[in-house]
């Protein structure tokens, strides 16, 4: 101070009042006086501490420009107030100052001027710090999601607020609004009442010091939308506890609120679902305590909810069940994966099956905190499934036993069911068919064939069809199929049943049978077997083969190609030419000569080129054979009664057909029939010859037998006649003795005549039998009156009847006329009368002739022993004799011949007899006979 003062005194001519000096010296403001050149003339202590003593302004200022400006202004007589400047301190530190200066308003000039320097370094540093803090606070407030505001107490005007206030409330807010202005905000209490200005939380905080936390207010926001805000507010007190401000923060909780509402809604729904579910639903914690159960749980367990929640299974049920439940719960907890269990337990005495799904519940961190379960009573469903399974099993059992292919195909064209036959036929498993389409299983070509039938059955019509099918697996089959539509409850066709039979073999067999039938017809059409065999060969192509050859064996053992057929006549020529040029040697080990020799069939299903080459004689022959392109060959013998009479050769060439066992069988059958025809023809010829020879023989024999009989007969008749004449004439010369002798001889001759008659009759019968058997009994009809003929016949029996002791009576009415063979009818009546006399037991015999309605009837009635019913049945058979007839001679042919004759006339012969009472034979003849022959 003293040094500064002395220096000032040394340099300045100013007066220094003592007290003022002291005041200046000690003033907290730096003060100095400077000369015009800027040098310091005087400085107080504060100025000296700033480094002002002894230095010029330029040295003092950090920026010399500032010093020059200050000096300039002072020189111009201007006053300077609060000019900021930076001084370069003695310690090198820069000090910030405010400069106020004033020049002297004296005559001598403005200098020395007074300069006051206020050191504001610290103050400005604090001000900077404050500003920085304020900026940070603003940044924090801006960054806060919540609205924050500080309001003044008690006015309620806003001291500080971040942008969120306006953003959340969606309206312009004014910092000048006081509490009364809070009414501009539209808020509602939970009860719907409007929030009054003083009721807003911050108003209450500044008024009463209330701390409000989390008050939710429904608001109508500035833009008219509705929302919820959650408000916190608290008072701000000074050190003395007075409320100086209030702090309010609030957030828009509309979204949370909505989410909450949604959550509550969904929880309600979930609850409703849980409650109304027919499944038993529960949640258990890790210890097995029930957290939640639904109503069905109560129903099934028979316990109220209150007694279940919080309890473990062991506490509410049997230990056994509880332990089973617990073990599955633990499996879920340990594995963290859901499981499905089916279990049965008793409910009100009935076994019920439940399907249970247990699943873990995880918290936010993924830890299992509970086990959930849903158990569904599937007893009925299971029963239905079992029933359906049983039904299908039975259906399968039945249809698997059927030889028919059974399939169920849906309207979508996919298989739903097939039986075993179906699987086997296609060689596929059931799983490989079910769900597949028709085209998948049948193949495209066959699927196209059935397509219209499928369309028809799906249209509701039952269809039956037969088709040749080429299946995907390469098989060509003839099938007979029936499609039956299956209607659902609404009547729509949802599927159809296909019943399919493989009729390939059946059709082939029918074809073969038809062919054989035609062949048989041809073979039996004529006895000229050479012609028929040619026709047969023609019939065989192309149905059986491309070529057909027929070879027959001649009586001398050689063979000859009788017929060869091919649809192309040129090829027939070729075959004949081949045969001529390349005859097969009779000793050939195989082929036609071998078949003719051994009588054994040969079949070459696949004729290889090698085989053709073996059979060829030379390259040209081989060339021709190759051109023919023989594919398959069958050679079958024609055998009749142990002899090979020929052979049939079938060749497949251009058709590519391959002969199999069935073809061989057919060929053999054909050959057998052909052989039979050949044999029949031969037999017929032989028979014809034999018959012709027999007829000749019969003719000669009858002539030869009758000739001596004729002479005998005539001689006997002559003798008897002569004797009779002599008796009549009476020979008086003859003595009684001689007469007696002659009578004895005549009796013998009479017997001789009877024997001749018998012999003649026997010869006649034998010849008749021969004729009838050969179908050669011819009738010679003429007009005959039975009323005339019969008495004549009976008349001839005079002697015989007399000898037999029987009387003969003829009863006739008027004429009974018709056209008959007189001699044959005579023969029949004679036979009947002869029998009656013979077997009539010496009782009367009555012969009646009648006519009635176009029929002529002759009955011969005796009163003899009668004929037993057994004998009656066979009396008209050849060589049959009744018991009674055994006492009499005869061949047993008379009635048989009579019957043949009557039959030939279109008539009827019958017998009725009562044992011991007699027999009636009757013949009935139509009055006009049809001119025919016995067959």
């Amino acid at each position: 101070m003293n040094e500064w003062a002395s220096a000032a005194a040394d340099g300045a001519p100013i007066e220094r009042p003592g007290v003022i000096d002291e005041l200046l010296e000690e003033a907290p403001v730096a003060a100095q006086a400077i000369a015009e050149d800027g040098t310091t003339l005087w400085a107080n202590r504060a100025a000296r501490e700033l480094g002002a003593s002894g230095a010029s302004l330029a040295e003092l200022f950090d920026d010399p420009g500032e010093a020059a400006e200050l000096l300039g202004r002072l020189r111009r007589g201007e006053a300077v107030r609060d000019l900021p400047a930076r001084l370069c301190g003695a310690d090198g530190a820069v000090r910030r100052v405010r400069i106020s200066a004033r020049a002297q308003r004296r005559e001598s000039g403005p200098f020395p001027a007074l300069v006051y320097l206020l050191d504001v370094t610290e103050r400005e540093r604090l001000a900077d710090e404050l500003a920085r803090q304020r900026r940070r606070l603003d940044a924090v407030l801006r960054a806060m999601p919540s609205a924050v505001a500080i309001v003044e107490a008690p006015s309620g005007r806003t001291l500080l607020a971040n942008e969120q206030n306006q953003r959340i409330l969606r309206m312009e807010l004014s910092p000048r609004w006081g509490v009364s202005d809070y009414g501009r905000l539209t808020g509602f209490h939970a009860d719907g009442r409007r929030v009054a200005p003083e009721e807003w939380p911050v108003a209450r905080s500044i008024a009463t010091g209330e701390v409000v936390r989390g008050e939710v207010v429904r608001m109508l926001r500035g833009d008219g939308s509705e929302g919820f805000i959650c408000i916190n507010s608290a008072p701000v007190r000074d050190e003395r506890g007075r409320i100086v401000a209030g702090v309010v923060t609030f957030d828009d909780v509309s979204e949370q609120r909505r989410a909450q509402e949604n959550l509550e809604e969904s929880e309600k729904r979930l609850q409703a679902i849980l409650e109304s579910s027919s499944s038993v639903i529960y949640l258990k914690d890790l210890e097995g305590r029930h957290l939640l159960v639904n109503r069905q749980y109560e129903t099934v367990s028979g316990l109220p909810r209150a007694r279940i929640v919080g309890k473990t299974d062991a506490e509410i049920g049997s230990e056994e069940v509880a332990s089973a439940f617990r073990s599955t719960d633990l499996r879920v907890i340990e594995s963290g994966a859901p499981i499905q269990i089916e279990h049965v337990f008793l409910q009100q005495g009935a076994a019920r099956t439940f399907l249970t799904v247990k699943f873990p519940l995880r918290d936010g961190a993924g830890r299992v905190y509970a086990v959930g379960g849903m158990s569904t009573d599937i007893t009925d469903r299971k029963r239905a499934e079992d029933a359906a399974r049983d039904g299908e099993r039975q259906l399968r059992l039945i249809t698997d036993a059927l030889p028919v292919l059974v399939g169920l195909v849906g309207a979508d064209g996919r298989y739903r069911f097939v039986n075993r036959a179906y699987q086997d036929w296609f060689g596929r498993t059931r799983d490989d068919i079910i769900g597949k389409t028709l085209a998948d299983v049948l193949g495209d070509e066959a699927a196209r064939v059935v397509e219209p039938h499928v369309a028809a059955v799906l249209a509701g019509r039952e269809v039956t069809f037969e088709a040749d099918m080429h299946y995907g697996n390469g098989a060509r089959r003839t099938v007979s199929a029936t499609y039956v539509p299956q209607r659902d409850a609404s009547g729509a066709v949802g599927a159809f049943v296909a019943l399919v039979s493989d009729v390939t073999e059946q059709r082939r067999a029918e074809d073969r049978a038809r062919f054989l039938a035609e062949a048989s017809t041809i073979l039996s059409s004529s006895l000229e077997h050479e012609t028929t065999l040619k026709t047969l060969a023609a019939l065989a192509v192309p149905r059986l083969a491309d070529w057909c050859g027929v070879e027959i064996v001649r009586p001398d053992g050689s063979s000859e190609q009788l017929a060869v057929a091919h649809v192309d006549p040129a090829k027939v020529e070729l075959a004949i030419e081949l045969r001529r040029r390349y005859p097969q040697p009779a000793h050939a080990p195989a082929g036609l000569p071998s078949v003719l020799r051994t009588g054994r069939s040969e079949i070459y299903s696949d004729v290889s080129d090698e085989l053709v080459a073996q059979g060829a004689r030379d390259p040209e022959h081989l060339g021709i054979l190759r051109d023919i392109g023989i594919r398959s060959v069958i050679i079958v013998p024609m055998r009749a009664r142990g002899h090979v009479v020929g052979a049939i050769t079938l060749v497949s060439a251009e058709s590519g057909r391959r002969f199999g066992a069935a073809d061989l069988a057919l060929a053999e059958e054909l050959a057998a029939r052909a052989a039979l025809a050949i044999d029949n023809a031969a037999l017929y010829r032989e028979a014809q010859e034999a018959i012709s020879k027999r007829d000749d023989f019969l003719s000669v024999a009858s002539h030869e037998l009758r000739t001596p009989l004729t002479t005998l007969r005539l001689q006997v008749d002559g003798v008897l006649r002569a004797a009779a004449r002599k008796r009549l004439d009476g020979d008086p010369a003859a003595g009684a003795a001689i007469e007696a002798k002659v009578e004895a001889h005549l009796a013998r001759i009479g017997k001789l005549g009877a024997q001749v008659n018998r012999m003649g009759a026997l010869v006649d019968q034998l010849l008749d039998v021969s004729r009838i058997s050969a179908g050669r009994l011819a009738l010679d009809p003429s007009d005959v009156d039975l009323a005339e003929l019969v008495p004549e016949i009976v008349g001839r029996f005079g002697d015989e009847a007399e000898q037999a002791g029987a009387s003969l009576h003829v009863v006739t009415g008027g004429p009974v006329r018709g056209r008959w063979d007189r001699n044959r009818i005579d023969q029949v009546v004679t036979n009947l009368v002869s029998n009656a006399v013979k077997y009539g037991a010496r009782r009367p015999v009555t012969v009646r002739v009648e006519s009635e309605g176009g029929l002529a009837r002759v009955t011969v009635q005796d009163q003899g022993v009668g004929i037993s019913p057994e004998d009656q049945a066979r009396i008209f058979e050849r060589f049959e004799r009744t018991e009674a007839a055994r006492n009499f001679s005869g061949l047993g042919l008379g009635l048989w011949i009579s019957k043949q004759i009557v039959d030939a006339h279109g008539g009827r012969i019958s017998v009725s007899s009562t044992p011991e009472a007699g027999t009636i034979f009757a013949i009935e003849l139509p009055t006009a006979v049809v001119e025919n022959q016995l067959s």
Binding site: L705, T710, L714, Q715, R721
Partner: protein, 128 residues
């Protein structure tokens, strides 16, 4: 050598011609008919019978066998039918050949062999 036996006791209009190749039958028949008082001529085959007929007056009846050598009964019958002088002569066929064959001739009567004398005599009585 002719086998024709000619006996003209009662005149030709009552004559019966018997044509049969079997000697026994022919001779027996002739003998028996003669016993009955008829004039009978026998002939051993058709050719000789025809020859006789052409040289003599027609008989009242021809008893004709069918199966004969040289000329059989059918042929003779045919020739008789062709001859206006002879076609009216009644013919009775006696045959062992079976009626079938005998009927091929429209003869008045067929008497099958072996012959009953009664039937032959009956035929002769009717025609002579």
């Amino acid at each position: 050598v002719t086998e024709i036996e000619t006996e003209t006791e009662t005149g030709t209009d009552h004559m019966v011609l018997v044509v049969d190749d079997d000697d026994d039958i022919r001779e027996t028949l002739c003998e028996l008919l003669r016993d009955e008082g008829h004039t009978v001529v026998g002939s051993e085959d058709g050719a000789r019978a025809l020859e006789y007929l052409r040289g003599h007056p027609p008989p009242c009846l021809i008893i004709l066998d069918l199966m004969m050598p040289v000329m059989d009964g059918w042929e003779l019958f045919r020739r008789l039918q062709e001859d206006p002088k002879l076609s009216a002569v009644p013919v009775v066929v006696v045959t062992a050949a079976g009626e079938q064959r005998a009927r091929s001739i429209p003869a008045r009567q067929v008497i099958p062999k072996p012959l009953h004398l009664d039937r032959v005599l009956e035929a002769v009585e009717q025609n002579c």
